[in-house]
């Protein structure tokens, strides 16, 4: 077990990040696009901060979905035709 890789990363960190970000990674294109400073930083990050690489994620899921209880008895419900899909409920 390597202390530098406690989570046993088995892929290149850029590929792993792309997977976490939900992006298709064209590595050839990316290597041309990113400057060496950025690529070096990715390489170091894999070793220095593996936990942060493992937690790469950008979508937010409801934290307590079971704890949502919709209420109905509002004093006002406001809609505006100019703003589709939006409404304001006021107590």
């Amino acid at each position: 077990i390597s202390l530098q890789r406690p989570l046993g990363l088995d892929k290149d960190v850029l590929l792993q990040a792309a997977e976490k970000f939900g992006l298709d990674l064209d590595l050839d294109h990316l290597l041309k696009e990113l400057d060496s400073n950025v690529l070096d930083a990715w390489a170091q990050i894999e070793h220095l901060y593996p936990n942060q690489v493992m937690s790469l994620e950008t979508s937010t899921k409801p934290k307590f979905p079971e704890a949502i209880k919709t209420k109905k008895d509002w004093d006002f419900v406001v809609k505006n035709d100019a703003i589709e899909n939006y409404q304001l409920r006021v107590n």
């Binding site: 850029l14 990040a17 976490k20 970000f21 992006l23 990316l30 696009e33 990113l34 400057d35 400073n37 950025v38 930083a41 990715w42 170091q44 990050i45 220095l48 901060y49 942060q52 937690s55 790469l56 994620e57 950008t58 979508s59 937010t60 899921k61 409801p62 934290k63 307590f64 979905p65 704890a67 949502i68 209880k69 919709t70 209420k71 008895d73 509002w74 004093d75 006002f76 406001v78 809609k79 505006n80 100019a82 703003i83 899909n85 939006y86 409404q87 304001l88 409920r89 006021v90 107590n91």
Partner: protein
């Protein structure tokens, strides 16, 4: 029937509204709580208050900083005579979704620009329902702190892009904000190492290590500014935060107040737990119509997601340039005991920000600011035309918590005094 929030005894003599903005097709629901002005709500301006994080509830601002009550250890409200609704109606909005009492049944946003569209639509519908707050030409301001230094410039730009809006945006106030990381990250080492008005809190070798890593950090932020790609902005955030913030955090000191140690809880202030406990009581949730059964002051998943979306290091200060060039008054204030969004960095970015009067602003002399309520010299101010920077003496990250009288002086002078201090 949802109970009237007045039964909670939080400023029971003023009219108050709670509720949700629903974005139906995305299943997003934003919670808000509004307190009318204690003075003259028919004429006084309206302020939208936003806490930062990203991922922290604006009810922290309500109960910990500038709202009409704090919460005591017995979970009872304690009136705040220096509440910002003394002379303004104040709206506290929990955003983005999945923060505080706001929620989404599906997923949420992880960047500032997406959050801005929801805030604009909230304001349109709010003022549709309550035209009495705008139809006599009352002013409307957005104020916030910390990561709201990202939010506010973008939200204000989004608002100004809608020419047919039903409300006026009069000014914005940014307190201890993160707005221009490329400039501000230069000042963590000076602030921690004795150049910010307080003694150094780090050993010299830690200060040297911060200096040594700065060039690389700034190079990464520059790459992020140039490309604004997640591939550049994420490593900039990880590298710079570990190199420039972590040495201070490891000392156990309060990142929001260099004079103090971090005591209990994620945010270093034990009283924040009282607020969580108060808002998690059933009778409180019933009175405000909360549809989320479990309240947390900060959602660290949101924090992580903004960070890993590359939002942290993006150059949102360019929106400040646009706002100033459209003549929108802007106040940037900073409590001078904060580390994490310190006054040195905030002063520096306002000095180098390009806008139509940037040279004139930069050449202005700093002068003393005397707070009207206490009649004491409470800070230092630099101003030209509609752009003002204020250093607030003895304030931490959350200025209204540390110096409530002077914070109220500041906001009253700004919104009622023609945007000058």
């Amino acid at each position: 029937k949802i109970k009237d929030p007045k039964i909670l005894g939080i400023d029971p003599n003023v009219t108050q509204y709670t509720g949700y903005l629903d974005v139906e097709d995305e299943d997003k629901h934003f919670f808000f709580w509004t307190f009318e002005s204690r003075n003259d709500p028919a004429k006084d301006p309206v302020i939208l208050w936003l806490n930062g994080g990203p991922g922290c509830s604006s009810l922290t601002g309500l109960f910990f900083e500038l709202g009409p009550s704090s919460i005591g250890p017995d979970l009872k409200p304690i009136g705040n005579p220096y509440s910002w609704n003394s002379n303004a109606t104040v709206i506290f909005l929990d955003q983005p979704v999945n923060v505080g009492f706001s929620y989404s049944g599906s997923s949420g946003v992880s960047n500032t620009v997406a959050a801005g569209k929801d805030v604009y639509n909230f304001l349109e519908l709010f003022f549709d329902q309550f035209p009495e707050y705008v139809n006599k030409g009352q002013d409307f301001h957005i104020a916030g702190e910390s990561y709201a230094g990202h939010y506010i410039p973008v939200f204000a730009s989004e608002i100004l892009s809608h020419k047919d809006r039903n409300f006026n945006l009069t000014s914005v106030l940014i307190g201890n904000g993160l707005t221009d990381p490329l400039t501000q990250y230069n000042y963590y080492e000076p602030m921690a190492c004795g150049e910010g008005g307080e003694p150094s809190v780090l050993p010299s070798e830690e200060c040297s290590a911060m200096e040594d890593s700065l060039e690389r950090c700034l190079g990464l932020i520059e790459s992020c500014y140039d490309s604004q790609s997640v591939w550049s902005c994420v490593p900039a955030t990880i590298y710079c935060n570990n190199a420039q913030l972590a040495p201070y955090q490891r000392t156990g000191r309060n990142v929001y107040d260099i004079r103090k140690d971090c005591e209990g809880g994620n945010l270093c202030y034990p009283t924040l737990q009282d607020i969580d406990d108060y808002l998690n009581q059933d009778y409180v949730k019933e009175a405000v119509g909360a549809e989320v059964d479990h309240y947390e002051s900060c959602n660290f998943d949101i924090n992580r997601n903004f960070l890993f979306a590359g939002d942290w290091m993006k150059p949102y200060h360019t929106a400040v340039t646009d706002l100033l060039n459209q003549d929108l008054p802007i106040l940037v204030y900073a409590g001078d005991k904060d580390f994490i969004c310190n006054w040195l960095g905030n002063k520096a970015w306002t000095d180098v920000l390009p806008w139509k009067y940037d040279e004139e602003f930069a050449s202005q002399k700093v002068r003393n600011w005397t707070a009207s309520i206490t009649d004491e010299v409470a800070g230092e101010v630099k101003s030209y035309k509609h752009f003002t920077y204020l250093r607030v003496f003895n304030g931490g990250h959350m200025v209204p918590f540390d110096v409530p009288e002077n914070a109220l002086s500041m906001v009253n002078e700004w919104i009622h005094g023609g945007f000058s201090l």
